[in-house]
Each structure stands twice: as structure tokens, then as C-alpha cells.
């Protein structure tokens, strides 16, 4: 077996993928071969250093982007047996993109403002005073009859 083949075994050894008997044979070879010992030491050092390296941080705005895309690709389906309250809460939180309590508070506030506005519009307006003059037609006619002799 060549040193290149032995070093392929060293690579497998580091991954825990070398059978025990082959590993024993490999260690026997390494005790006699400086090149393979150096390869083993360097590869183990590289592996150790790489494993402890910090990775690039996940960009927070990507969460938002993915969340938006998920909502776009599949509309939310109401689960079976959902109560009206739960359904309303879900619809509100989805529609307003805010937690359900905040959405309900917003809705109530909107309703209150609507009622106030309606009362203002529909309330009776103050009317002008009209003096109704009722002519005493009958009496006038009677008096006229008396005076004119009709």
C-alpha cells in the first residue's frame, strides 16, 4: 500500500470511518513513516482549527424576508374545529400583522370611533322656531256672517 493510500485511510480515520483492524494496521505504518505521521498531525490540526471557527452571522432581515415570502406562497388555512373566536383572532392577527390582543383593541377603538361618528351624523339638528298662525276661520266667518248679514 502506498503512502497516498495510507493517507486516504488517515482521512477516514479522522472521520471515524476506518474499521478497527485497518486502524491498527495504519498506526503500525505511521510508527515507521514520518510523511504519514506529519500528514496525520497536520490534518488533525487543520480539522481542529476549522471546527472551532466562527461562522458568518445570520442576517436578521432575512427572517423578515422569509416570513413575508412564506405568507405569500400559502394562504393560511383554518384548521378543522376552529372556534369563531379563534378564527377571528387568527384573521385579525394575520390581517393586521400584529398580536391578536393589539388587533382586537384596534378593532374596538375603530368601532367606538365609528359609533361616535354615527351619533354625530344622525343626531336631530336644532330646528328653527316657526310661529303657526291659525286663523280662526270658522269664528271669523261666523262673525262676518253676523256683521255682514250674509
Amino acid at each position: 500500500m502506498t503512502c497516498d493510500e495510507r493517507q486516504a485511510e488517515i482521512s477516514a480515520l479522522l472521520d471515524g470511518a476506518l474499521p478497527d483492524d485497518a486502524a491498527g494496521d495504519l498506526f503500525g505504518h505511521m510508527s515507521r513513516c514520518g510523511a504519514c505521521r506529519r500528514f496525520h498531525a497536520a490534518t488533525a490540526a487543520v480539522r481542529e482549527a476549522v471546527r472551532h471557527e466562527e461562522t458568518a452571522p445570520f442576517p436578521r432581515e432575512l427572517d423578515r424576508r422569509i416570513g413575508t415570502e412564506l405568507r405569500r406562497v400559502r394562504p393560511v388555512q383554518p384548521p378543522d374545529g376552529e372556534s369563531i373566536v379563534d378564527r377571528l383572532r387568527r384573521m385579525l392577527s394575520t390581517a393586521f400583522r400584529m398580536p391578536a390582543p393589539a388587533a382586537i383593541a384596534t378593532l374596538l377603538l375603530a368601532l367606538l370611533l365609528g359609533v361616535l361618528a354615527a351619533r354625530t351624523v344622525l343626531a336631530p339638528q336644532p330646528q328653527e322656531r316657526h310661529t303657526v298662525v291659525v286663523f280662526p276661520t270658522v269664528e271669523v266667518a261666523a262673525s262676518l256672517r253676523g256683521t255682514t248679514g250674509i
Binding site: A12, T43, A49, E53, P59, R64, S93
Partner: protein
């Protein structure tokens, strides 16, 4: 964490837990992998988004949680691969990492060993860099790497060996 509600909101019916768990535990790793392969933040972000959107759409079909991670990596990888093909930048042929010994960057004076190693890994060709990333950074098994990359386990072993050999040779030179 303030950003996860954005993901939860997509599951207002309360079925979000399993997806959010997978998302929280894999998004950092998936992004790091995509960024290492793409070397462009926007492209890496697109690949990560594509992977989670597809998981979202296909989650009932992905029965086993054990395969979710390799499925996500594979989906992001395919996205990058298609993009590179479209851009005509991808060379599917097996590259020879031995050339790294000649072309690898020289260490800066007083450069941290890990930083130098990272630059050596970055200097590997995409297929060997990918093998190192998935094995050493992600801790994937040969089988998992084979699933992600769509090649036999024997090819995975060979890529890892060649990449390590190139890295070790360069690393040894620096140590002397």
C-alpha cells in the same frame, strides 16, 4: 429573539412549532454554507429563502425529521448550482485541489492560524471546499454529504481526502 415571530406568523393556525424548530436550529448553518459556496450575500440569502419556502410547501411530504437537514442543504445547493450554471460560472468537472499548494494565499505576517486556514479553505475549488464545509463545519456523515451533493459515498471520501491533503501540505509549509 424578535425575528422568529415573522416566521410564526406564517403559521397562524398554530401548526408552526415543528417548522420553527427546524428553522431556528438550521438557518445559521444553512446561511453559512450558502455564503461560503456563493461568496455573495444576496445570492446566499436567495438560496436560503428558496430552501425554507420549499420546505414550507413540501413539509407534509418530508416525513422524517432526520432527512430535513440534508434536504435543506441539497435544495439550497441546487439553487446555487442552477444560478451558477445560468451565470456560466460553474465548472462541474472534478477540480484538482493539489494546485492549491502552488496557488494558495501566502500567510500574512502575524496572521492568526485560524484566519489563515479559513483563507486556505476558501482557496479550494468549490467541490472540495464544499466537502470540507459539510464535514468539518456541519459535522455531516459521509451518507449525509452524499445525499446533499448527489454523489456516491466513495466520491465524498475522495474529495475529503484530496482537500485535506492540499490543506495539510500548505499548512505544513507555513509551520516550517
Amino acid at each position: 429573539m424578535t425575528s422568529i415571530p415573522d416566521i410564526r406568523l406564517a403559521f397562524a393556525d398554530g401548526s408552526s412549532e415543528s417548522f420553527v424548530r427546524v428553522y431556528e436550529s438550521t438557518r445559521g448553518r444553512l446561511y453559512a454554507y450558502a455564503l461560503s459556496m456563493a461568496r455573495e450575500r444576496d445570492l446566499a440569502a436567495d438560496a436560503v429563502q428558496e430552501a425554507y419556502v420549499r420546505l414550507f410547501q413540501n413539509s407534509p411530504a418530508i416525513a422524517s425529521p432526520a432527512v430535513v437537514v440534508s434536504w435543506l442543504f441539497s435544495t439550497a445547493r441546487n439553487y446555487l448550482l442552477n444560478h451558477h450554471r445560468l451565470e456560466k460560472r460553474f465548472t462541474p468537472a472534478e477540480e484538482d485541489p493539489a494546485s492549491l499548494a502552488d496557488s494558495a494565499p501566502e500567510p500574512f505576517e502575524a496572521e492568526d492560524e485560524r484566519a489563515y486556514l479559513r483563507r486556505l479553505v476558501d482557496a479550494l475549488g468549490p467541490l472540495h471546499r464544499e466537502a470540507i464545509l459539510l464535514r468539518e463545519y456541519e459535522g455531516m456523515s459521509y451518507d449525509e454529504i452524499a445525499k446533499v451533493t448527489g454523489v456516491p459515498v466513495s466520491t465524498v471520501k475522495m474529495r475529503l481526502f484530496k482537500a485535506r491533503k492540499a490543506l495539510a501540505e500548505r499548512f505544513e509549509k507555513r509551520e516550517r
